[in-house]
């Protein structure tokens, strides 16, 4: 938020007029209540339902104080339903996707922005062009590529690589990194070069440490996108032992009792919500990047 916006739509004089002041207050109160109900309500309900016996949830879903608490739901979800396994798969998928995306974007962005090879413009253009291609067009051919990848020989289905590697082909990340690197002060690079730093050391010891903010943004995007992904891991990880929560939960719904299932849903939401609460600023700044052209 820029410093100049110590005022907005309403002028300080507006705030002094009772009619404006009170309508604004009422509107804000209503907005806050609405946001709390819509944003927090479902999550609070889930938290309650996760420790409520099935019949209570079915018969009186909105009862504030259920007949009994059943914390065993959480334990049962974790062990018998093996949420732990799917949870770790989810983490492994997110970690791998994060690593691949960061590797590709950081090295690629560095090469394009700092090393600037002659064919850089062509490569840049080719990467940028993929931004225009909607995801749907990739679905089938990418699946067939995973079945029979070039160079590898063996099908990558049922391996985490089938999720990790395609995640790396993310043009937004490359672009973000490239632009960030391009705006770093060149004098620092020159000084490093005079000190005898080659391209590797320059990357590792100068550029990366200076790029924490953008690495943070890309990391959040990567982890959240991976946590959210459904269709792709469902297609390439048909083996339940490898599936993440998002793919597994709809299947479990058929077999697991409702209270345990809700506990599983609650556990699945925990990490992303916790991450959000901790890194709120990063998330919201990142989100505003989402469409911002100004400001």
């Amino acid at each position: 938020m820029s410093a100049r916006s110590d005022r907005g739509l309403l002028a300080p004089t507006d705030w002094k007029r009772p009619s404006v002041k009170w309508s604004a207050r009422i509107a804000h109160g209503a907005l806050l209540a609405g946001l709390a109900v819509a944003g927090l309500g479902p999550m609070l309900w889930l938290a309650k339902a996760a420790v409520t016996p099935t019949q209570d949830t079915l018969r009186r879903p909105m009862a504030l104080w259920p007949n009994g608490f059943d914390f065993a739901n959480l334990a049962e979800a974790w062990t018998r339903v093996e949420i732990d396994k799917y949870f770790f798969n989810t983490i492994a998928l997110a970690a791998g996707s994060w690593a691949v995306q960061l590797l590709v974007a950081a090295t690629g962005g560095y090469a394009l922005a700092v090393l600037r090879p002659r064919i850089g413009k062509v490569i840049s253009g080719a990467v940028l062009a993929t931004l225009f291609v909607p995801g749907v067009v990739l679905l089938v051919p990418l699946y067939l590529t995973i079945l029979d990848p070039p160079l590898v020989g063996a099908s990558m289905l049922n391996t985490f690589w089938a999720v990790w590697l395609p995640a790396g082909a993310n043009a937004f990340n490359v672009l973000l990194m490239q632009r960030f690197f391009a705006n770093l002060p060149r004098e620092v690079f020159e000084a490093a070069r005079v000190d005898g730093a080659g391209p590797y050391r320059l990357f590792w010891s100068i550029v990366l440490p200076m790029s924490r903010p953008i690495i943070g943004v890309v990391s959040v995007f990567a982890v959240i996108a991976s946590w959210k992904d459904f269709l792709w891991p469902m297609l390439v990880l048909p083996d339940p032992d490898l599936q993440p929560l998002s793919v597994r939960l709809p299947v479990l719904q058929r077999f697991v009792e409702l209270d345990v299932f809700l506990a599983a849903l609650a556990i699945s939401s925990l990490i992303p919500i916790a991450l959000f609460l901790v890194f709120q600023r990063l998330f919201l700044n990142g989100a505003s990047l989402g469409g911002a052209v100004k400001g």
Partner: protein
Amino acid sequence: MTSVDTRPAGVAGDRARPRTAARPGRPGGLLSRARGGLPTLVFLAPMLVVFGVFSWLPIGRAVVMSFQRTNLVADPVFVGVANFQQVFADPLLWTAVQNTAYFAALALVFGYPIPLVAAVLMSEVRKMRGLFSALAYLPVVVPPVVAVLLWKLFYDAGEDGVFNTILGWVGLGPFAWLQESDIVMPALVLEATWAAAGGTVIIYLAALTGVDPSLYEAAEIDGGGVWRKVWHITLPQLRGILLVTFILQIIGTVQVFLEPFLFTDGGPANRTLTLLLLIYRYAFTNSLGGDYGAAAALSLMLAVVLTAFSVLYFRLTRSWSNA
């Protein structure tokens, strides 16, 4: 991620769009000595391999495949435009086109004005703005599959369903949310909007802080009231970002998959069969063997339309960021 963005998050808060315009490059790379040398290649290699194998190659393959009959069992056969003809002959295509358009239109009705109003109000909040933003954004971080499965329970058609209980307090319902052909699509859109609107709010909020206060001051000197300021200053100032979120939302909602797949599997009676669900069925659930050709043909046609929107989006963001 890689594949299809399964959120109708036209407004996809989690999608980074670059905003900093690249400075026109200074002539010559920094390490001119190394231009094109081995180190450069080493740094380029991961990107070239990953994009080559998982982006450029599949995009090319999509075009080729749409003119082939291939089911992975027999060798692919070149069939000209037969796949396109087959897709056009499928009565479900028009059902899917209509449903998808309906979803996108409803998503605009539900998801377009509310975040704008919320953001304008929030931008005037002086205390606890962080709390407002956090509450608005919370649904966006809930894993979409969890959100859908949870809402599926909320939509239970019995009198004891969550929503029906709440509506029962004021004497409404019960509604058969997902089971009734007329309200199933609005029900899907409602969840999708809940899941995505927070991202749009944050985008508008950022844009609102960029509105130059002197414009408001000028309007006040002319004696403009609050509504006049909203109408004559705020909205025109947001024109650019409103168009951008509009286009982003269209691109996202046209590719909706998760909601119809998990809520209803396209039912009841194909009322929620969307284009992406149809492509998925062509490719992955046809028991005669995956009809990848038809799937590729339909994806390609959809992609051409969406790419037009993307190009439009890019031109808009470019021209504004250079302005």
